[in-house]
């Protein structure tokens, strides 16, 4: 079992005929993800890799192939539009990989999703990989391993680094989830942590945060109150200067808040070990988990 996906996840890829969309669709298919359709307006009727039909709209993909989940690889100017379309067509999970989506677009799309009970992951995220079940996004499959650890992160390659170390230490994962580094994202730490807490197969989990916002602090408070599973954390950006955007649109210390030090303090106050270095994450988890 995993969070957010299961054996019934039927995927439509929006932007499947694009360069990135096509490349990663191949990778997802190779991992066994059940991609039932692709969408590119004007390309309806084509086939992707001779096995996935391409439609002009998500609605057609839902109606004809029963898609219930969308993975979006469309350029920033069309990303929010693609999210509206997927939600309107009835997809209940949407993973938006696109980087560079205007924040105001995300502010506007959010109530549309809430009204329809749709979960969005991202944008500007690597997506989700549930080892042995499905890959929705761009996480490399070579580094994952089935097992009992959940991982949620605002980052991409830093996530891979940690997954790599977990797998190397024999700690497989239920789900590796990159929630994205933008200021407004569909699924945040709290949502992911609640899901991991409720997932019977997830025995422990790792939370990788970074500077900006206070999602880590909120998650810490929630964990302290509600979660009995072992959790360790890491925060990137201790050396980031204030007022500068560190790559991710959301990774910025502004007005003196959102610093790594604050987050570390809140997490530790909630009894969650915060690793000093990425390589300390696995030992810290092993120590509190006693496994």
């Amino acid at each position: 079992m995993a969070i957010f996906v299961d054996q019934n996840t039927k995927v439509v890829v929006q932007g499947i005929t694009g360069r990135d969309g096509g490349f990663h669709s191949s990778q997802m298919l190779a991992y066994g993800t059940d991609i039932v359709a692709g969408v590119t307006p004007g390309r309806g009727g084509q086939m992707f890799e001779d096995k996935v039909p391409v439609y002009n709209s998500v609605k057609q993909a839902v109606e004809e192939k029963g898609a219930n989940t969308s993975v979006i690889f469309v350029p920033p100017f069309g990303a929010a539009g693609a999210i509206y379309e997927a939600a309107d067509a009835g997809c209940k999970l949407i993973v938006c990989i696109t980087e560079g989506v205007p924040t105001v677009d995300m502010v506007k799309v959010m109530p549309y999703l809430q009204e329809r009970g749709v979960r969005l992951i991202g944008p500007n995220c690597p997506g989700l990989l549930a080892p042995g079940i499905a890959k929705l996004g761009i996480l490399p499959t070579s580094i994952v391993k089935e097992g009992p650890v959940g991982l949620v992160s605002r980052s991409g390659t830093l996530t891979y680094e940690v997954v790599y170390q977990l797998s190397a230490a024999g700690l497989g994962q239920t789900t590796c989830l990159g929630i994205g580094g933008d200021p407004v994202i569909g699924t945040n730490f709290m949502d992911a942590i609640e899901a991991f807490n409720n997932d019977p197969l997830t025995e422990a989990f790792v939370m990788i945060g970074e500077i900006g916002g206070d999602a880590e602090e909120q998650a810490a408070a929630w964990i302290q109150e509600n979660c009995k599973k072992p959790v360790v954390s890491f925060i990137a950006g201790q050396t980031a200067p204030p007022g500068k955007r560190m790559g991710h649109a959301g990774a910025i210390v502004s007005g003196g808040s959102g610093t790594a030090a604050e987050k570390k303090k809140a997490l530790e106050a909630a009894g969650i070990p915060v690793a000093e270095r990425p390589m300390d994450i696995v030992p810290a988890l092993q120590e509190i988990w006693k496994r």
Partner: protein
């Protein structure tokens, strides 16, 4: 993207906010001409992309031509927190009876634009938020309906409980600010202070706007608002090469794929006693030309004594990345040592390729950082 007060005011004016007239001058003579055009008294206001301009002496009330001349002379060229003043805004001075703060930003928690307002205007709002948070009123704005009349008026009346006319002016300013925020794709928009004259007329006499970089593509005109003089030359070059780069004061140049890993790398340099020279996310592809651009930018800083590549090869294979790095470094004339750490698919093949070059290979991130720190320390 941060823009200057006068640029923010232009945007505010377009959306109907009550902003006094004003134009910028780059020379003392221009400043005097403008002041003569507006009539006295005027304000002479430095245009730099930082706060605390008043405290630093960059904003001067100027009742006469002589004052304008004297103040413009003093302010033009002044250094304020590392920012050189190239332009001053000349704007008619208005009598101030009371001052308010109105601001909007993206609130990550509600995922909405958050209106914040306070009767403690004209001072640093961060300080108010810290000392007396109860004096800042907040209203998240539902994007489906906008800032509604009663929501804005309620805020106006909290700020001005005893003067409905002022409350209505504040409410109207808030509604216009919201429209300006959304239409300009701002990430922050502030009026501090919004003032009333003794006659009860409201004016936005200062303005601050940050624009969402991700949305610049749909505002082609906004690119002209960028103050190239205010940018660090290396950051400008990086932006033009579409690299995510932040300059720091260190000697270990960092090239990393991914923002989170790049921050973690900087942190690790510090952890092992070194000083990172920069943040740089080279992104998903490692094409030689992109590596060349990144190296050029980092090497333009004479402080850099060693370079550290930290690449996690996920879907891209490490041997391909190694080839890209080798091609790039061979095409350049580089005098500092380069440590390369490549992990992921085909990492061993990659290390084999590196072994045939002058590049210093490392197996782990920790090893790579320690080596880079050592090399930089030895060279300093």
């Amino acid at each position: 993207m941060n823009i200057h007060e006068y640029q923010a005011k232009d945007i505010f004016r377009d959306f109907g906010l009550p902003v006094p007239g004003g134009k910028v001058a780059a020379t003392v003579d221009e400043a005097v001409d403008l002041a003569n055009e507006y009539g006295y008294p005027v304000m002479v206001k430095c245009q730099v992309l930082t706060g605390g301009r008043g405290k630093a002496g960059g904003i001067k009330f100027s009742p006469t031509e002589d004052d304008v001349r004297k103040n413009a002379e003093a302010i033009l060229g002044m250094d304020i927190k590392g920012h050189t003043v190239h332009k001053v805004l000349i704007t008619p001075a208005v009598d101030i009876e009371s001052e308010y703060y109105i601001g909007m930003l993206i609130d990550r928690n509600t995922k909405r634009v958050l209106l914040m307002a306070s009767a403690e205007g004209g001072v640093e709002i961060e300080q108010v938020a810290k000392d007396t948070p109860e004096l800042i009123f907040k209203q998240p704005i539902d994007p489906r309906f906008g800032l509604l009349d009663h929501e804005a008026l309620d805020m106006g009346m909290r700020l001005c409980p005893d003067d409905i006319k002022k409350a209505r002016q504040l409410a109207s300013a808030m509604q216009k600010l919201y429209v300006a925020f959304m239409h300009s794709d701002a990430s922050l928009a502030e009026i501090n202070p919004f003032i009333f004259t003794p006659e009860g007329k409201g004016h936005a006499i200062d303005a601050k706007v940050n624009l969402d970089d991700n949305a610049l593509f749909r505002h082609p005109g906004y690119e002209d608002l960028r103050d190239l003089d205010a940018e660090d030359p290396s950051e400008r070059e990086a932006r033009q090469a579409e690299l995510s780069f932040v300059k720091l004061e260190g000697n270990v140049g960092c090239l990393v794929n991914g923002a989170g890993l790049a921050m973690a790398t900087m942190d690790l340099v510090k952890y092992y006693g070194g000083r990172p020279a920069n943040f740089l996310d080279i992104g998903g592809s490692s094409k030689p030309e992109k590596v060349v651009n990144a190296l050029t930018i980092i090497l333009s800083d004479p402080e850099v004594k060693a370079i550290l590549f930290n690449i996690f090869g996920g879907i891209t294979r490490c041997d391909d990345v190694a080839k890209g790095i080798i091609a790039a470094t061979e095409s350049m004339d580089i005098h500092v040592p380069i440590v390369v750490r490549l992990t992921g698919t085909n990492e061993e093949e990659a290390r084999a390729l590196l072994a045939e070059t002058d590049l210093v290979p490392a197996e782990t991130m920790d090893e790579a950082v320690q080596k880079a720190n050592e090399l930089a320390g030895a060279a300093s």
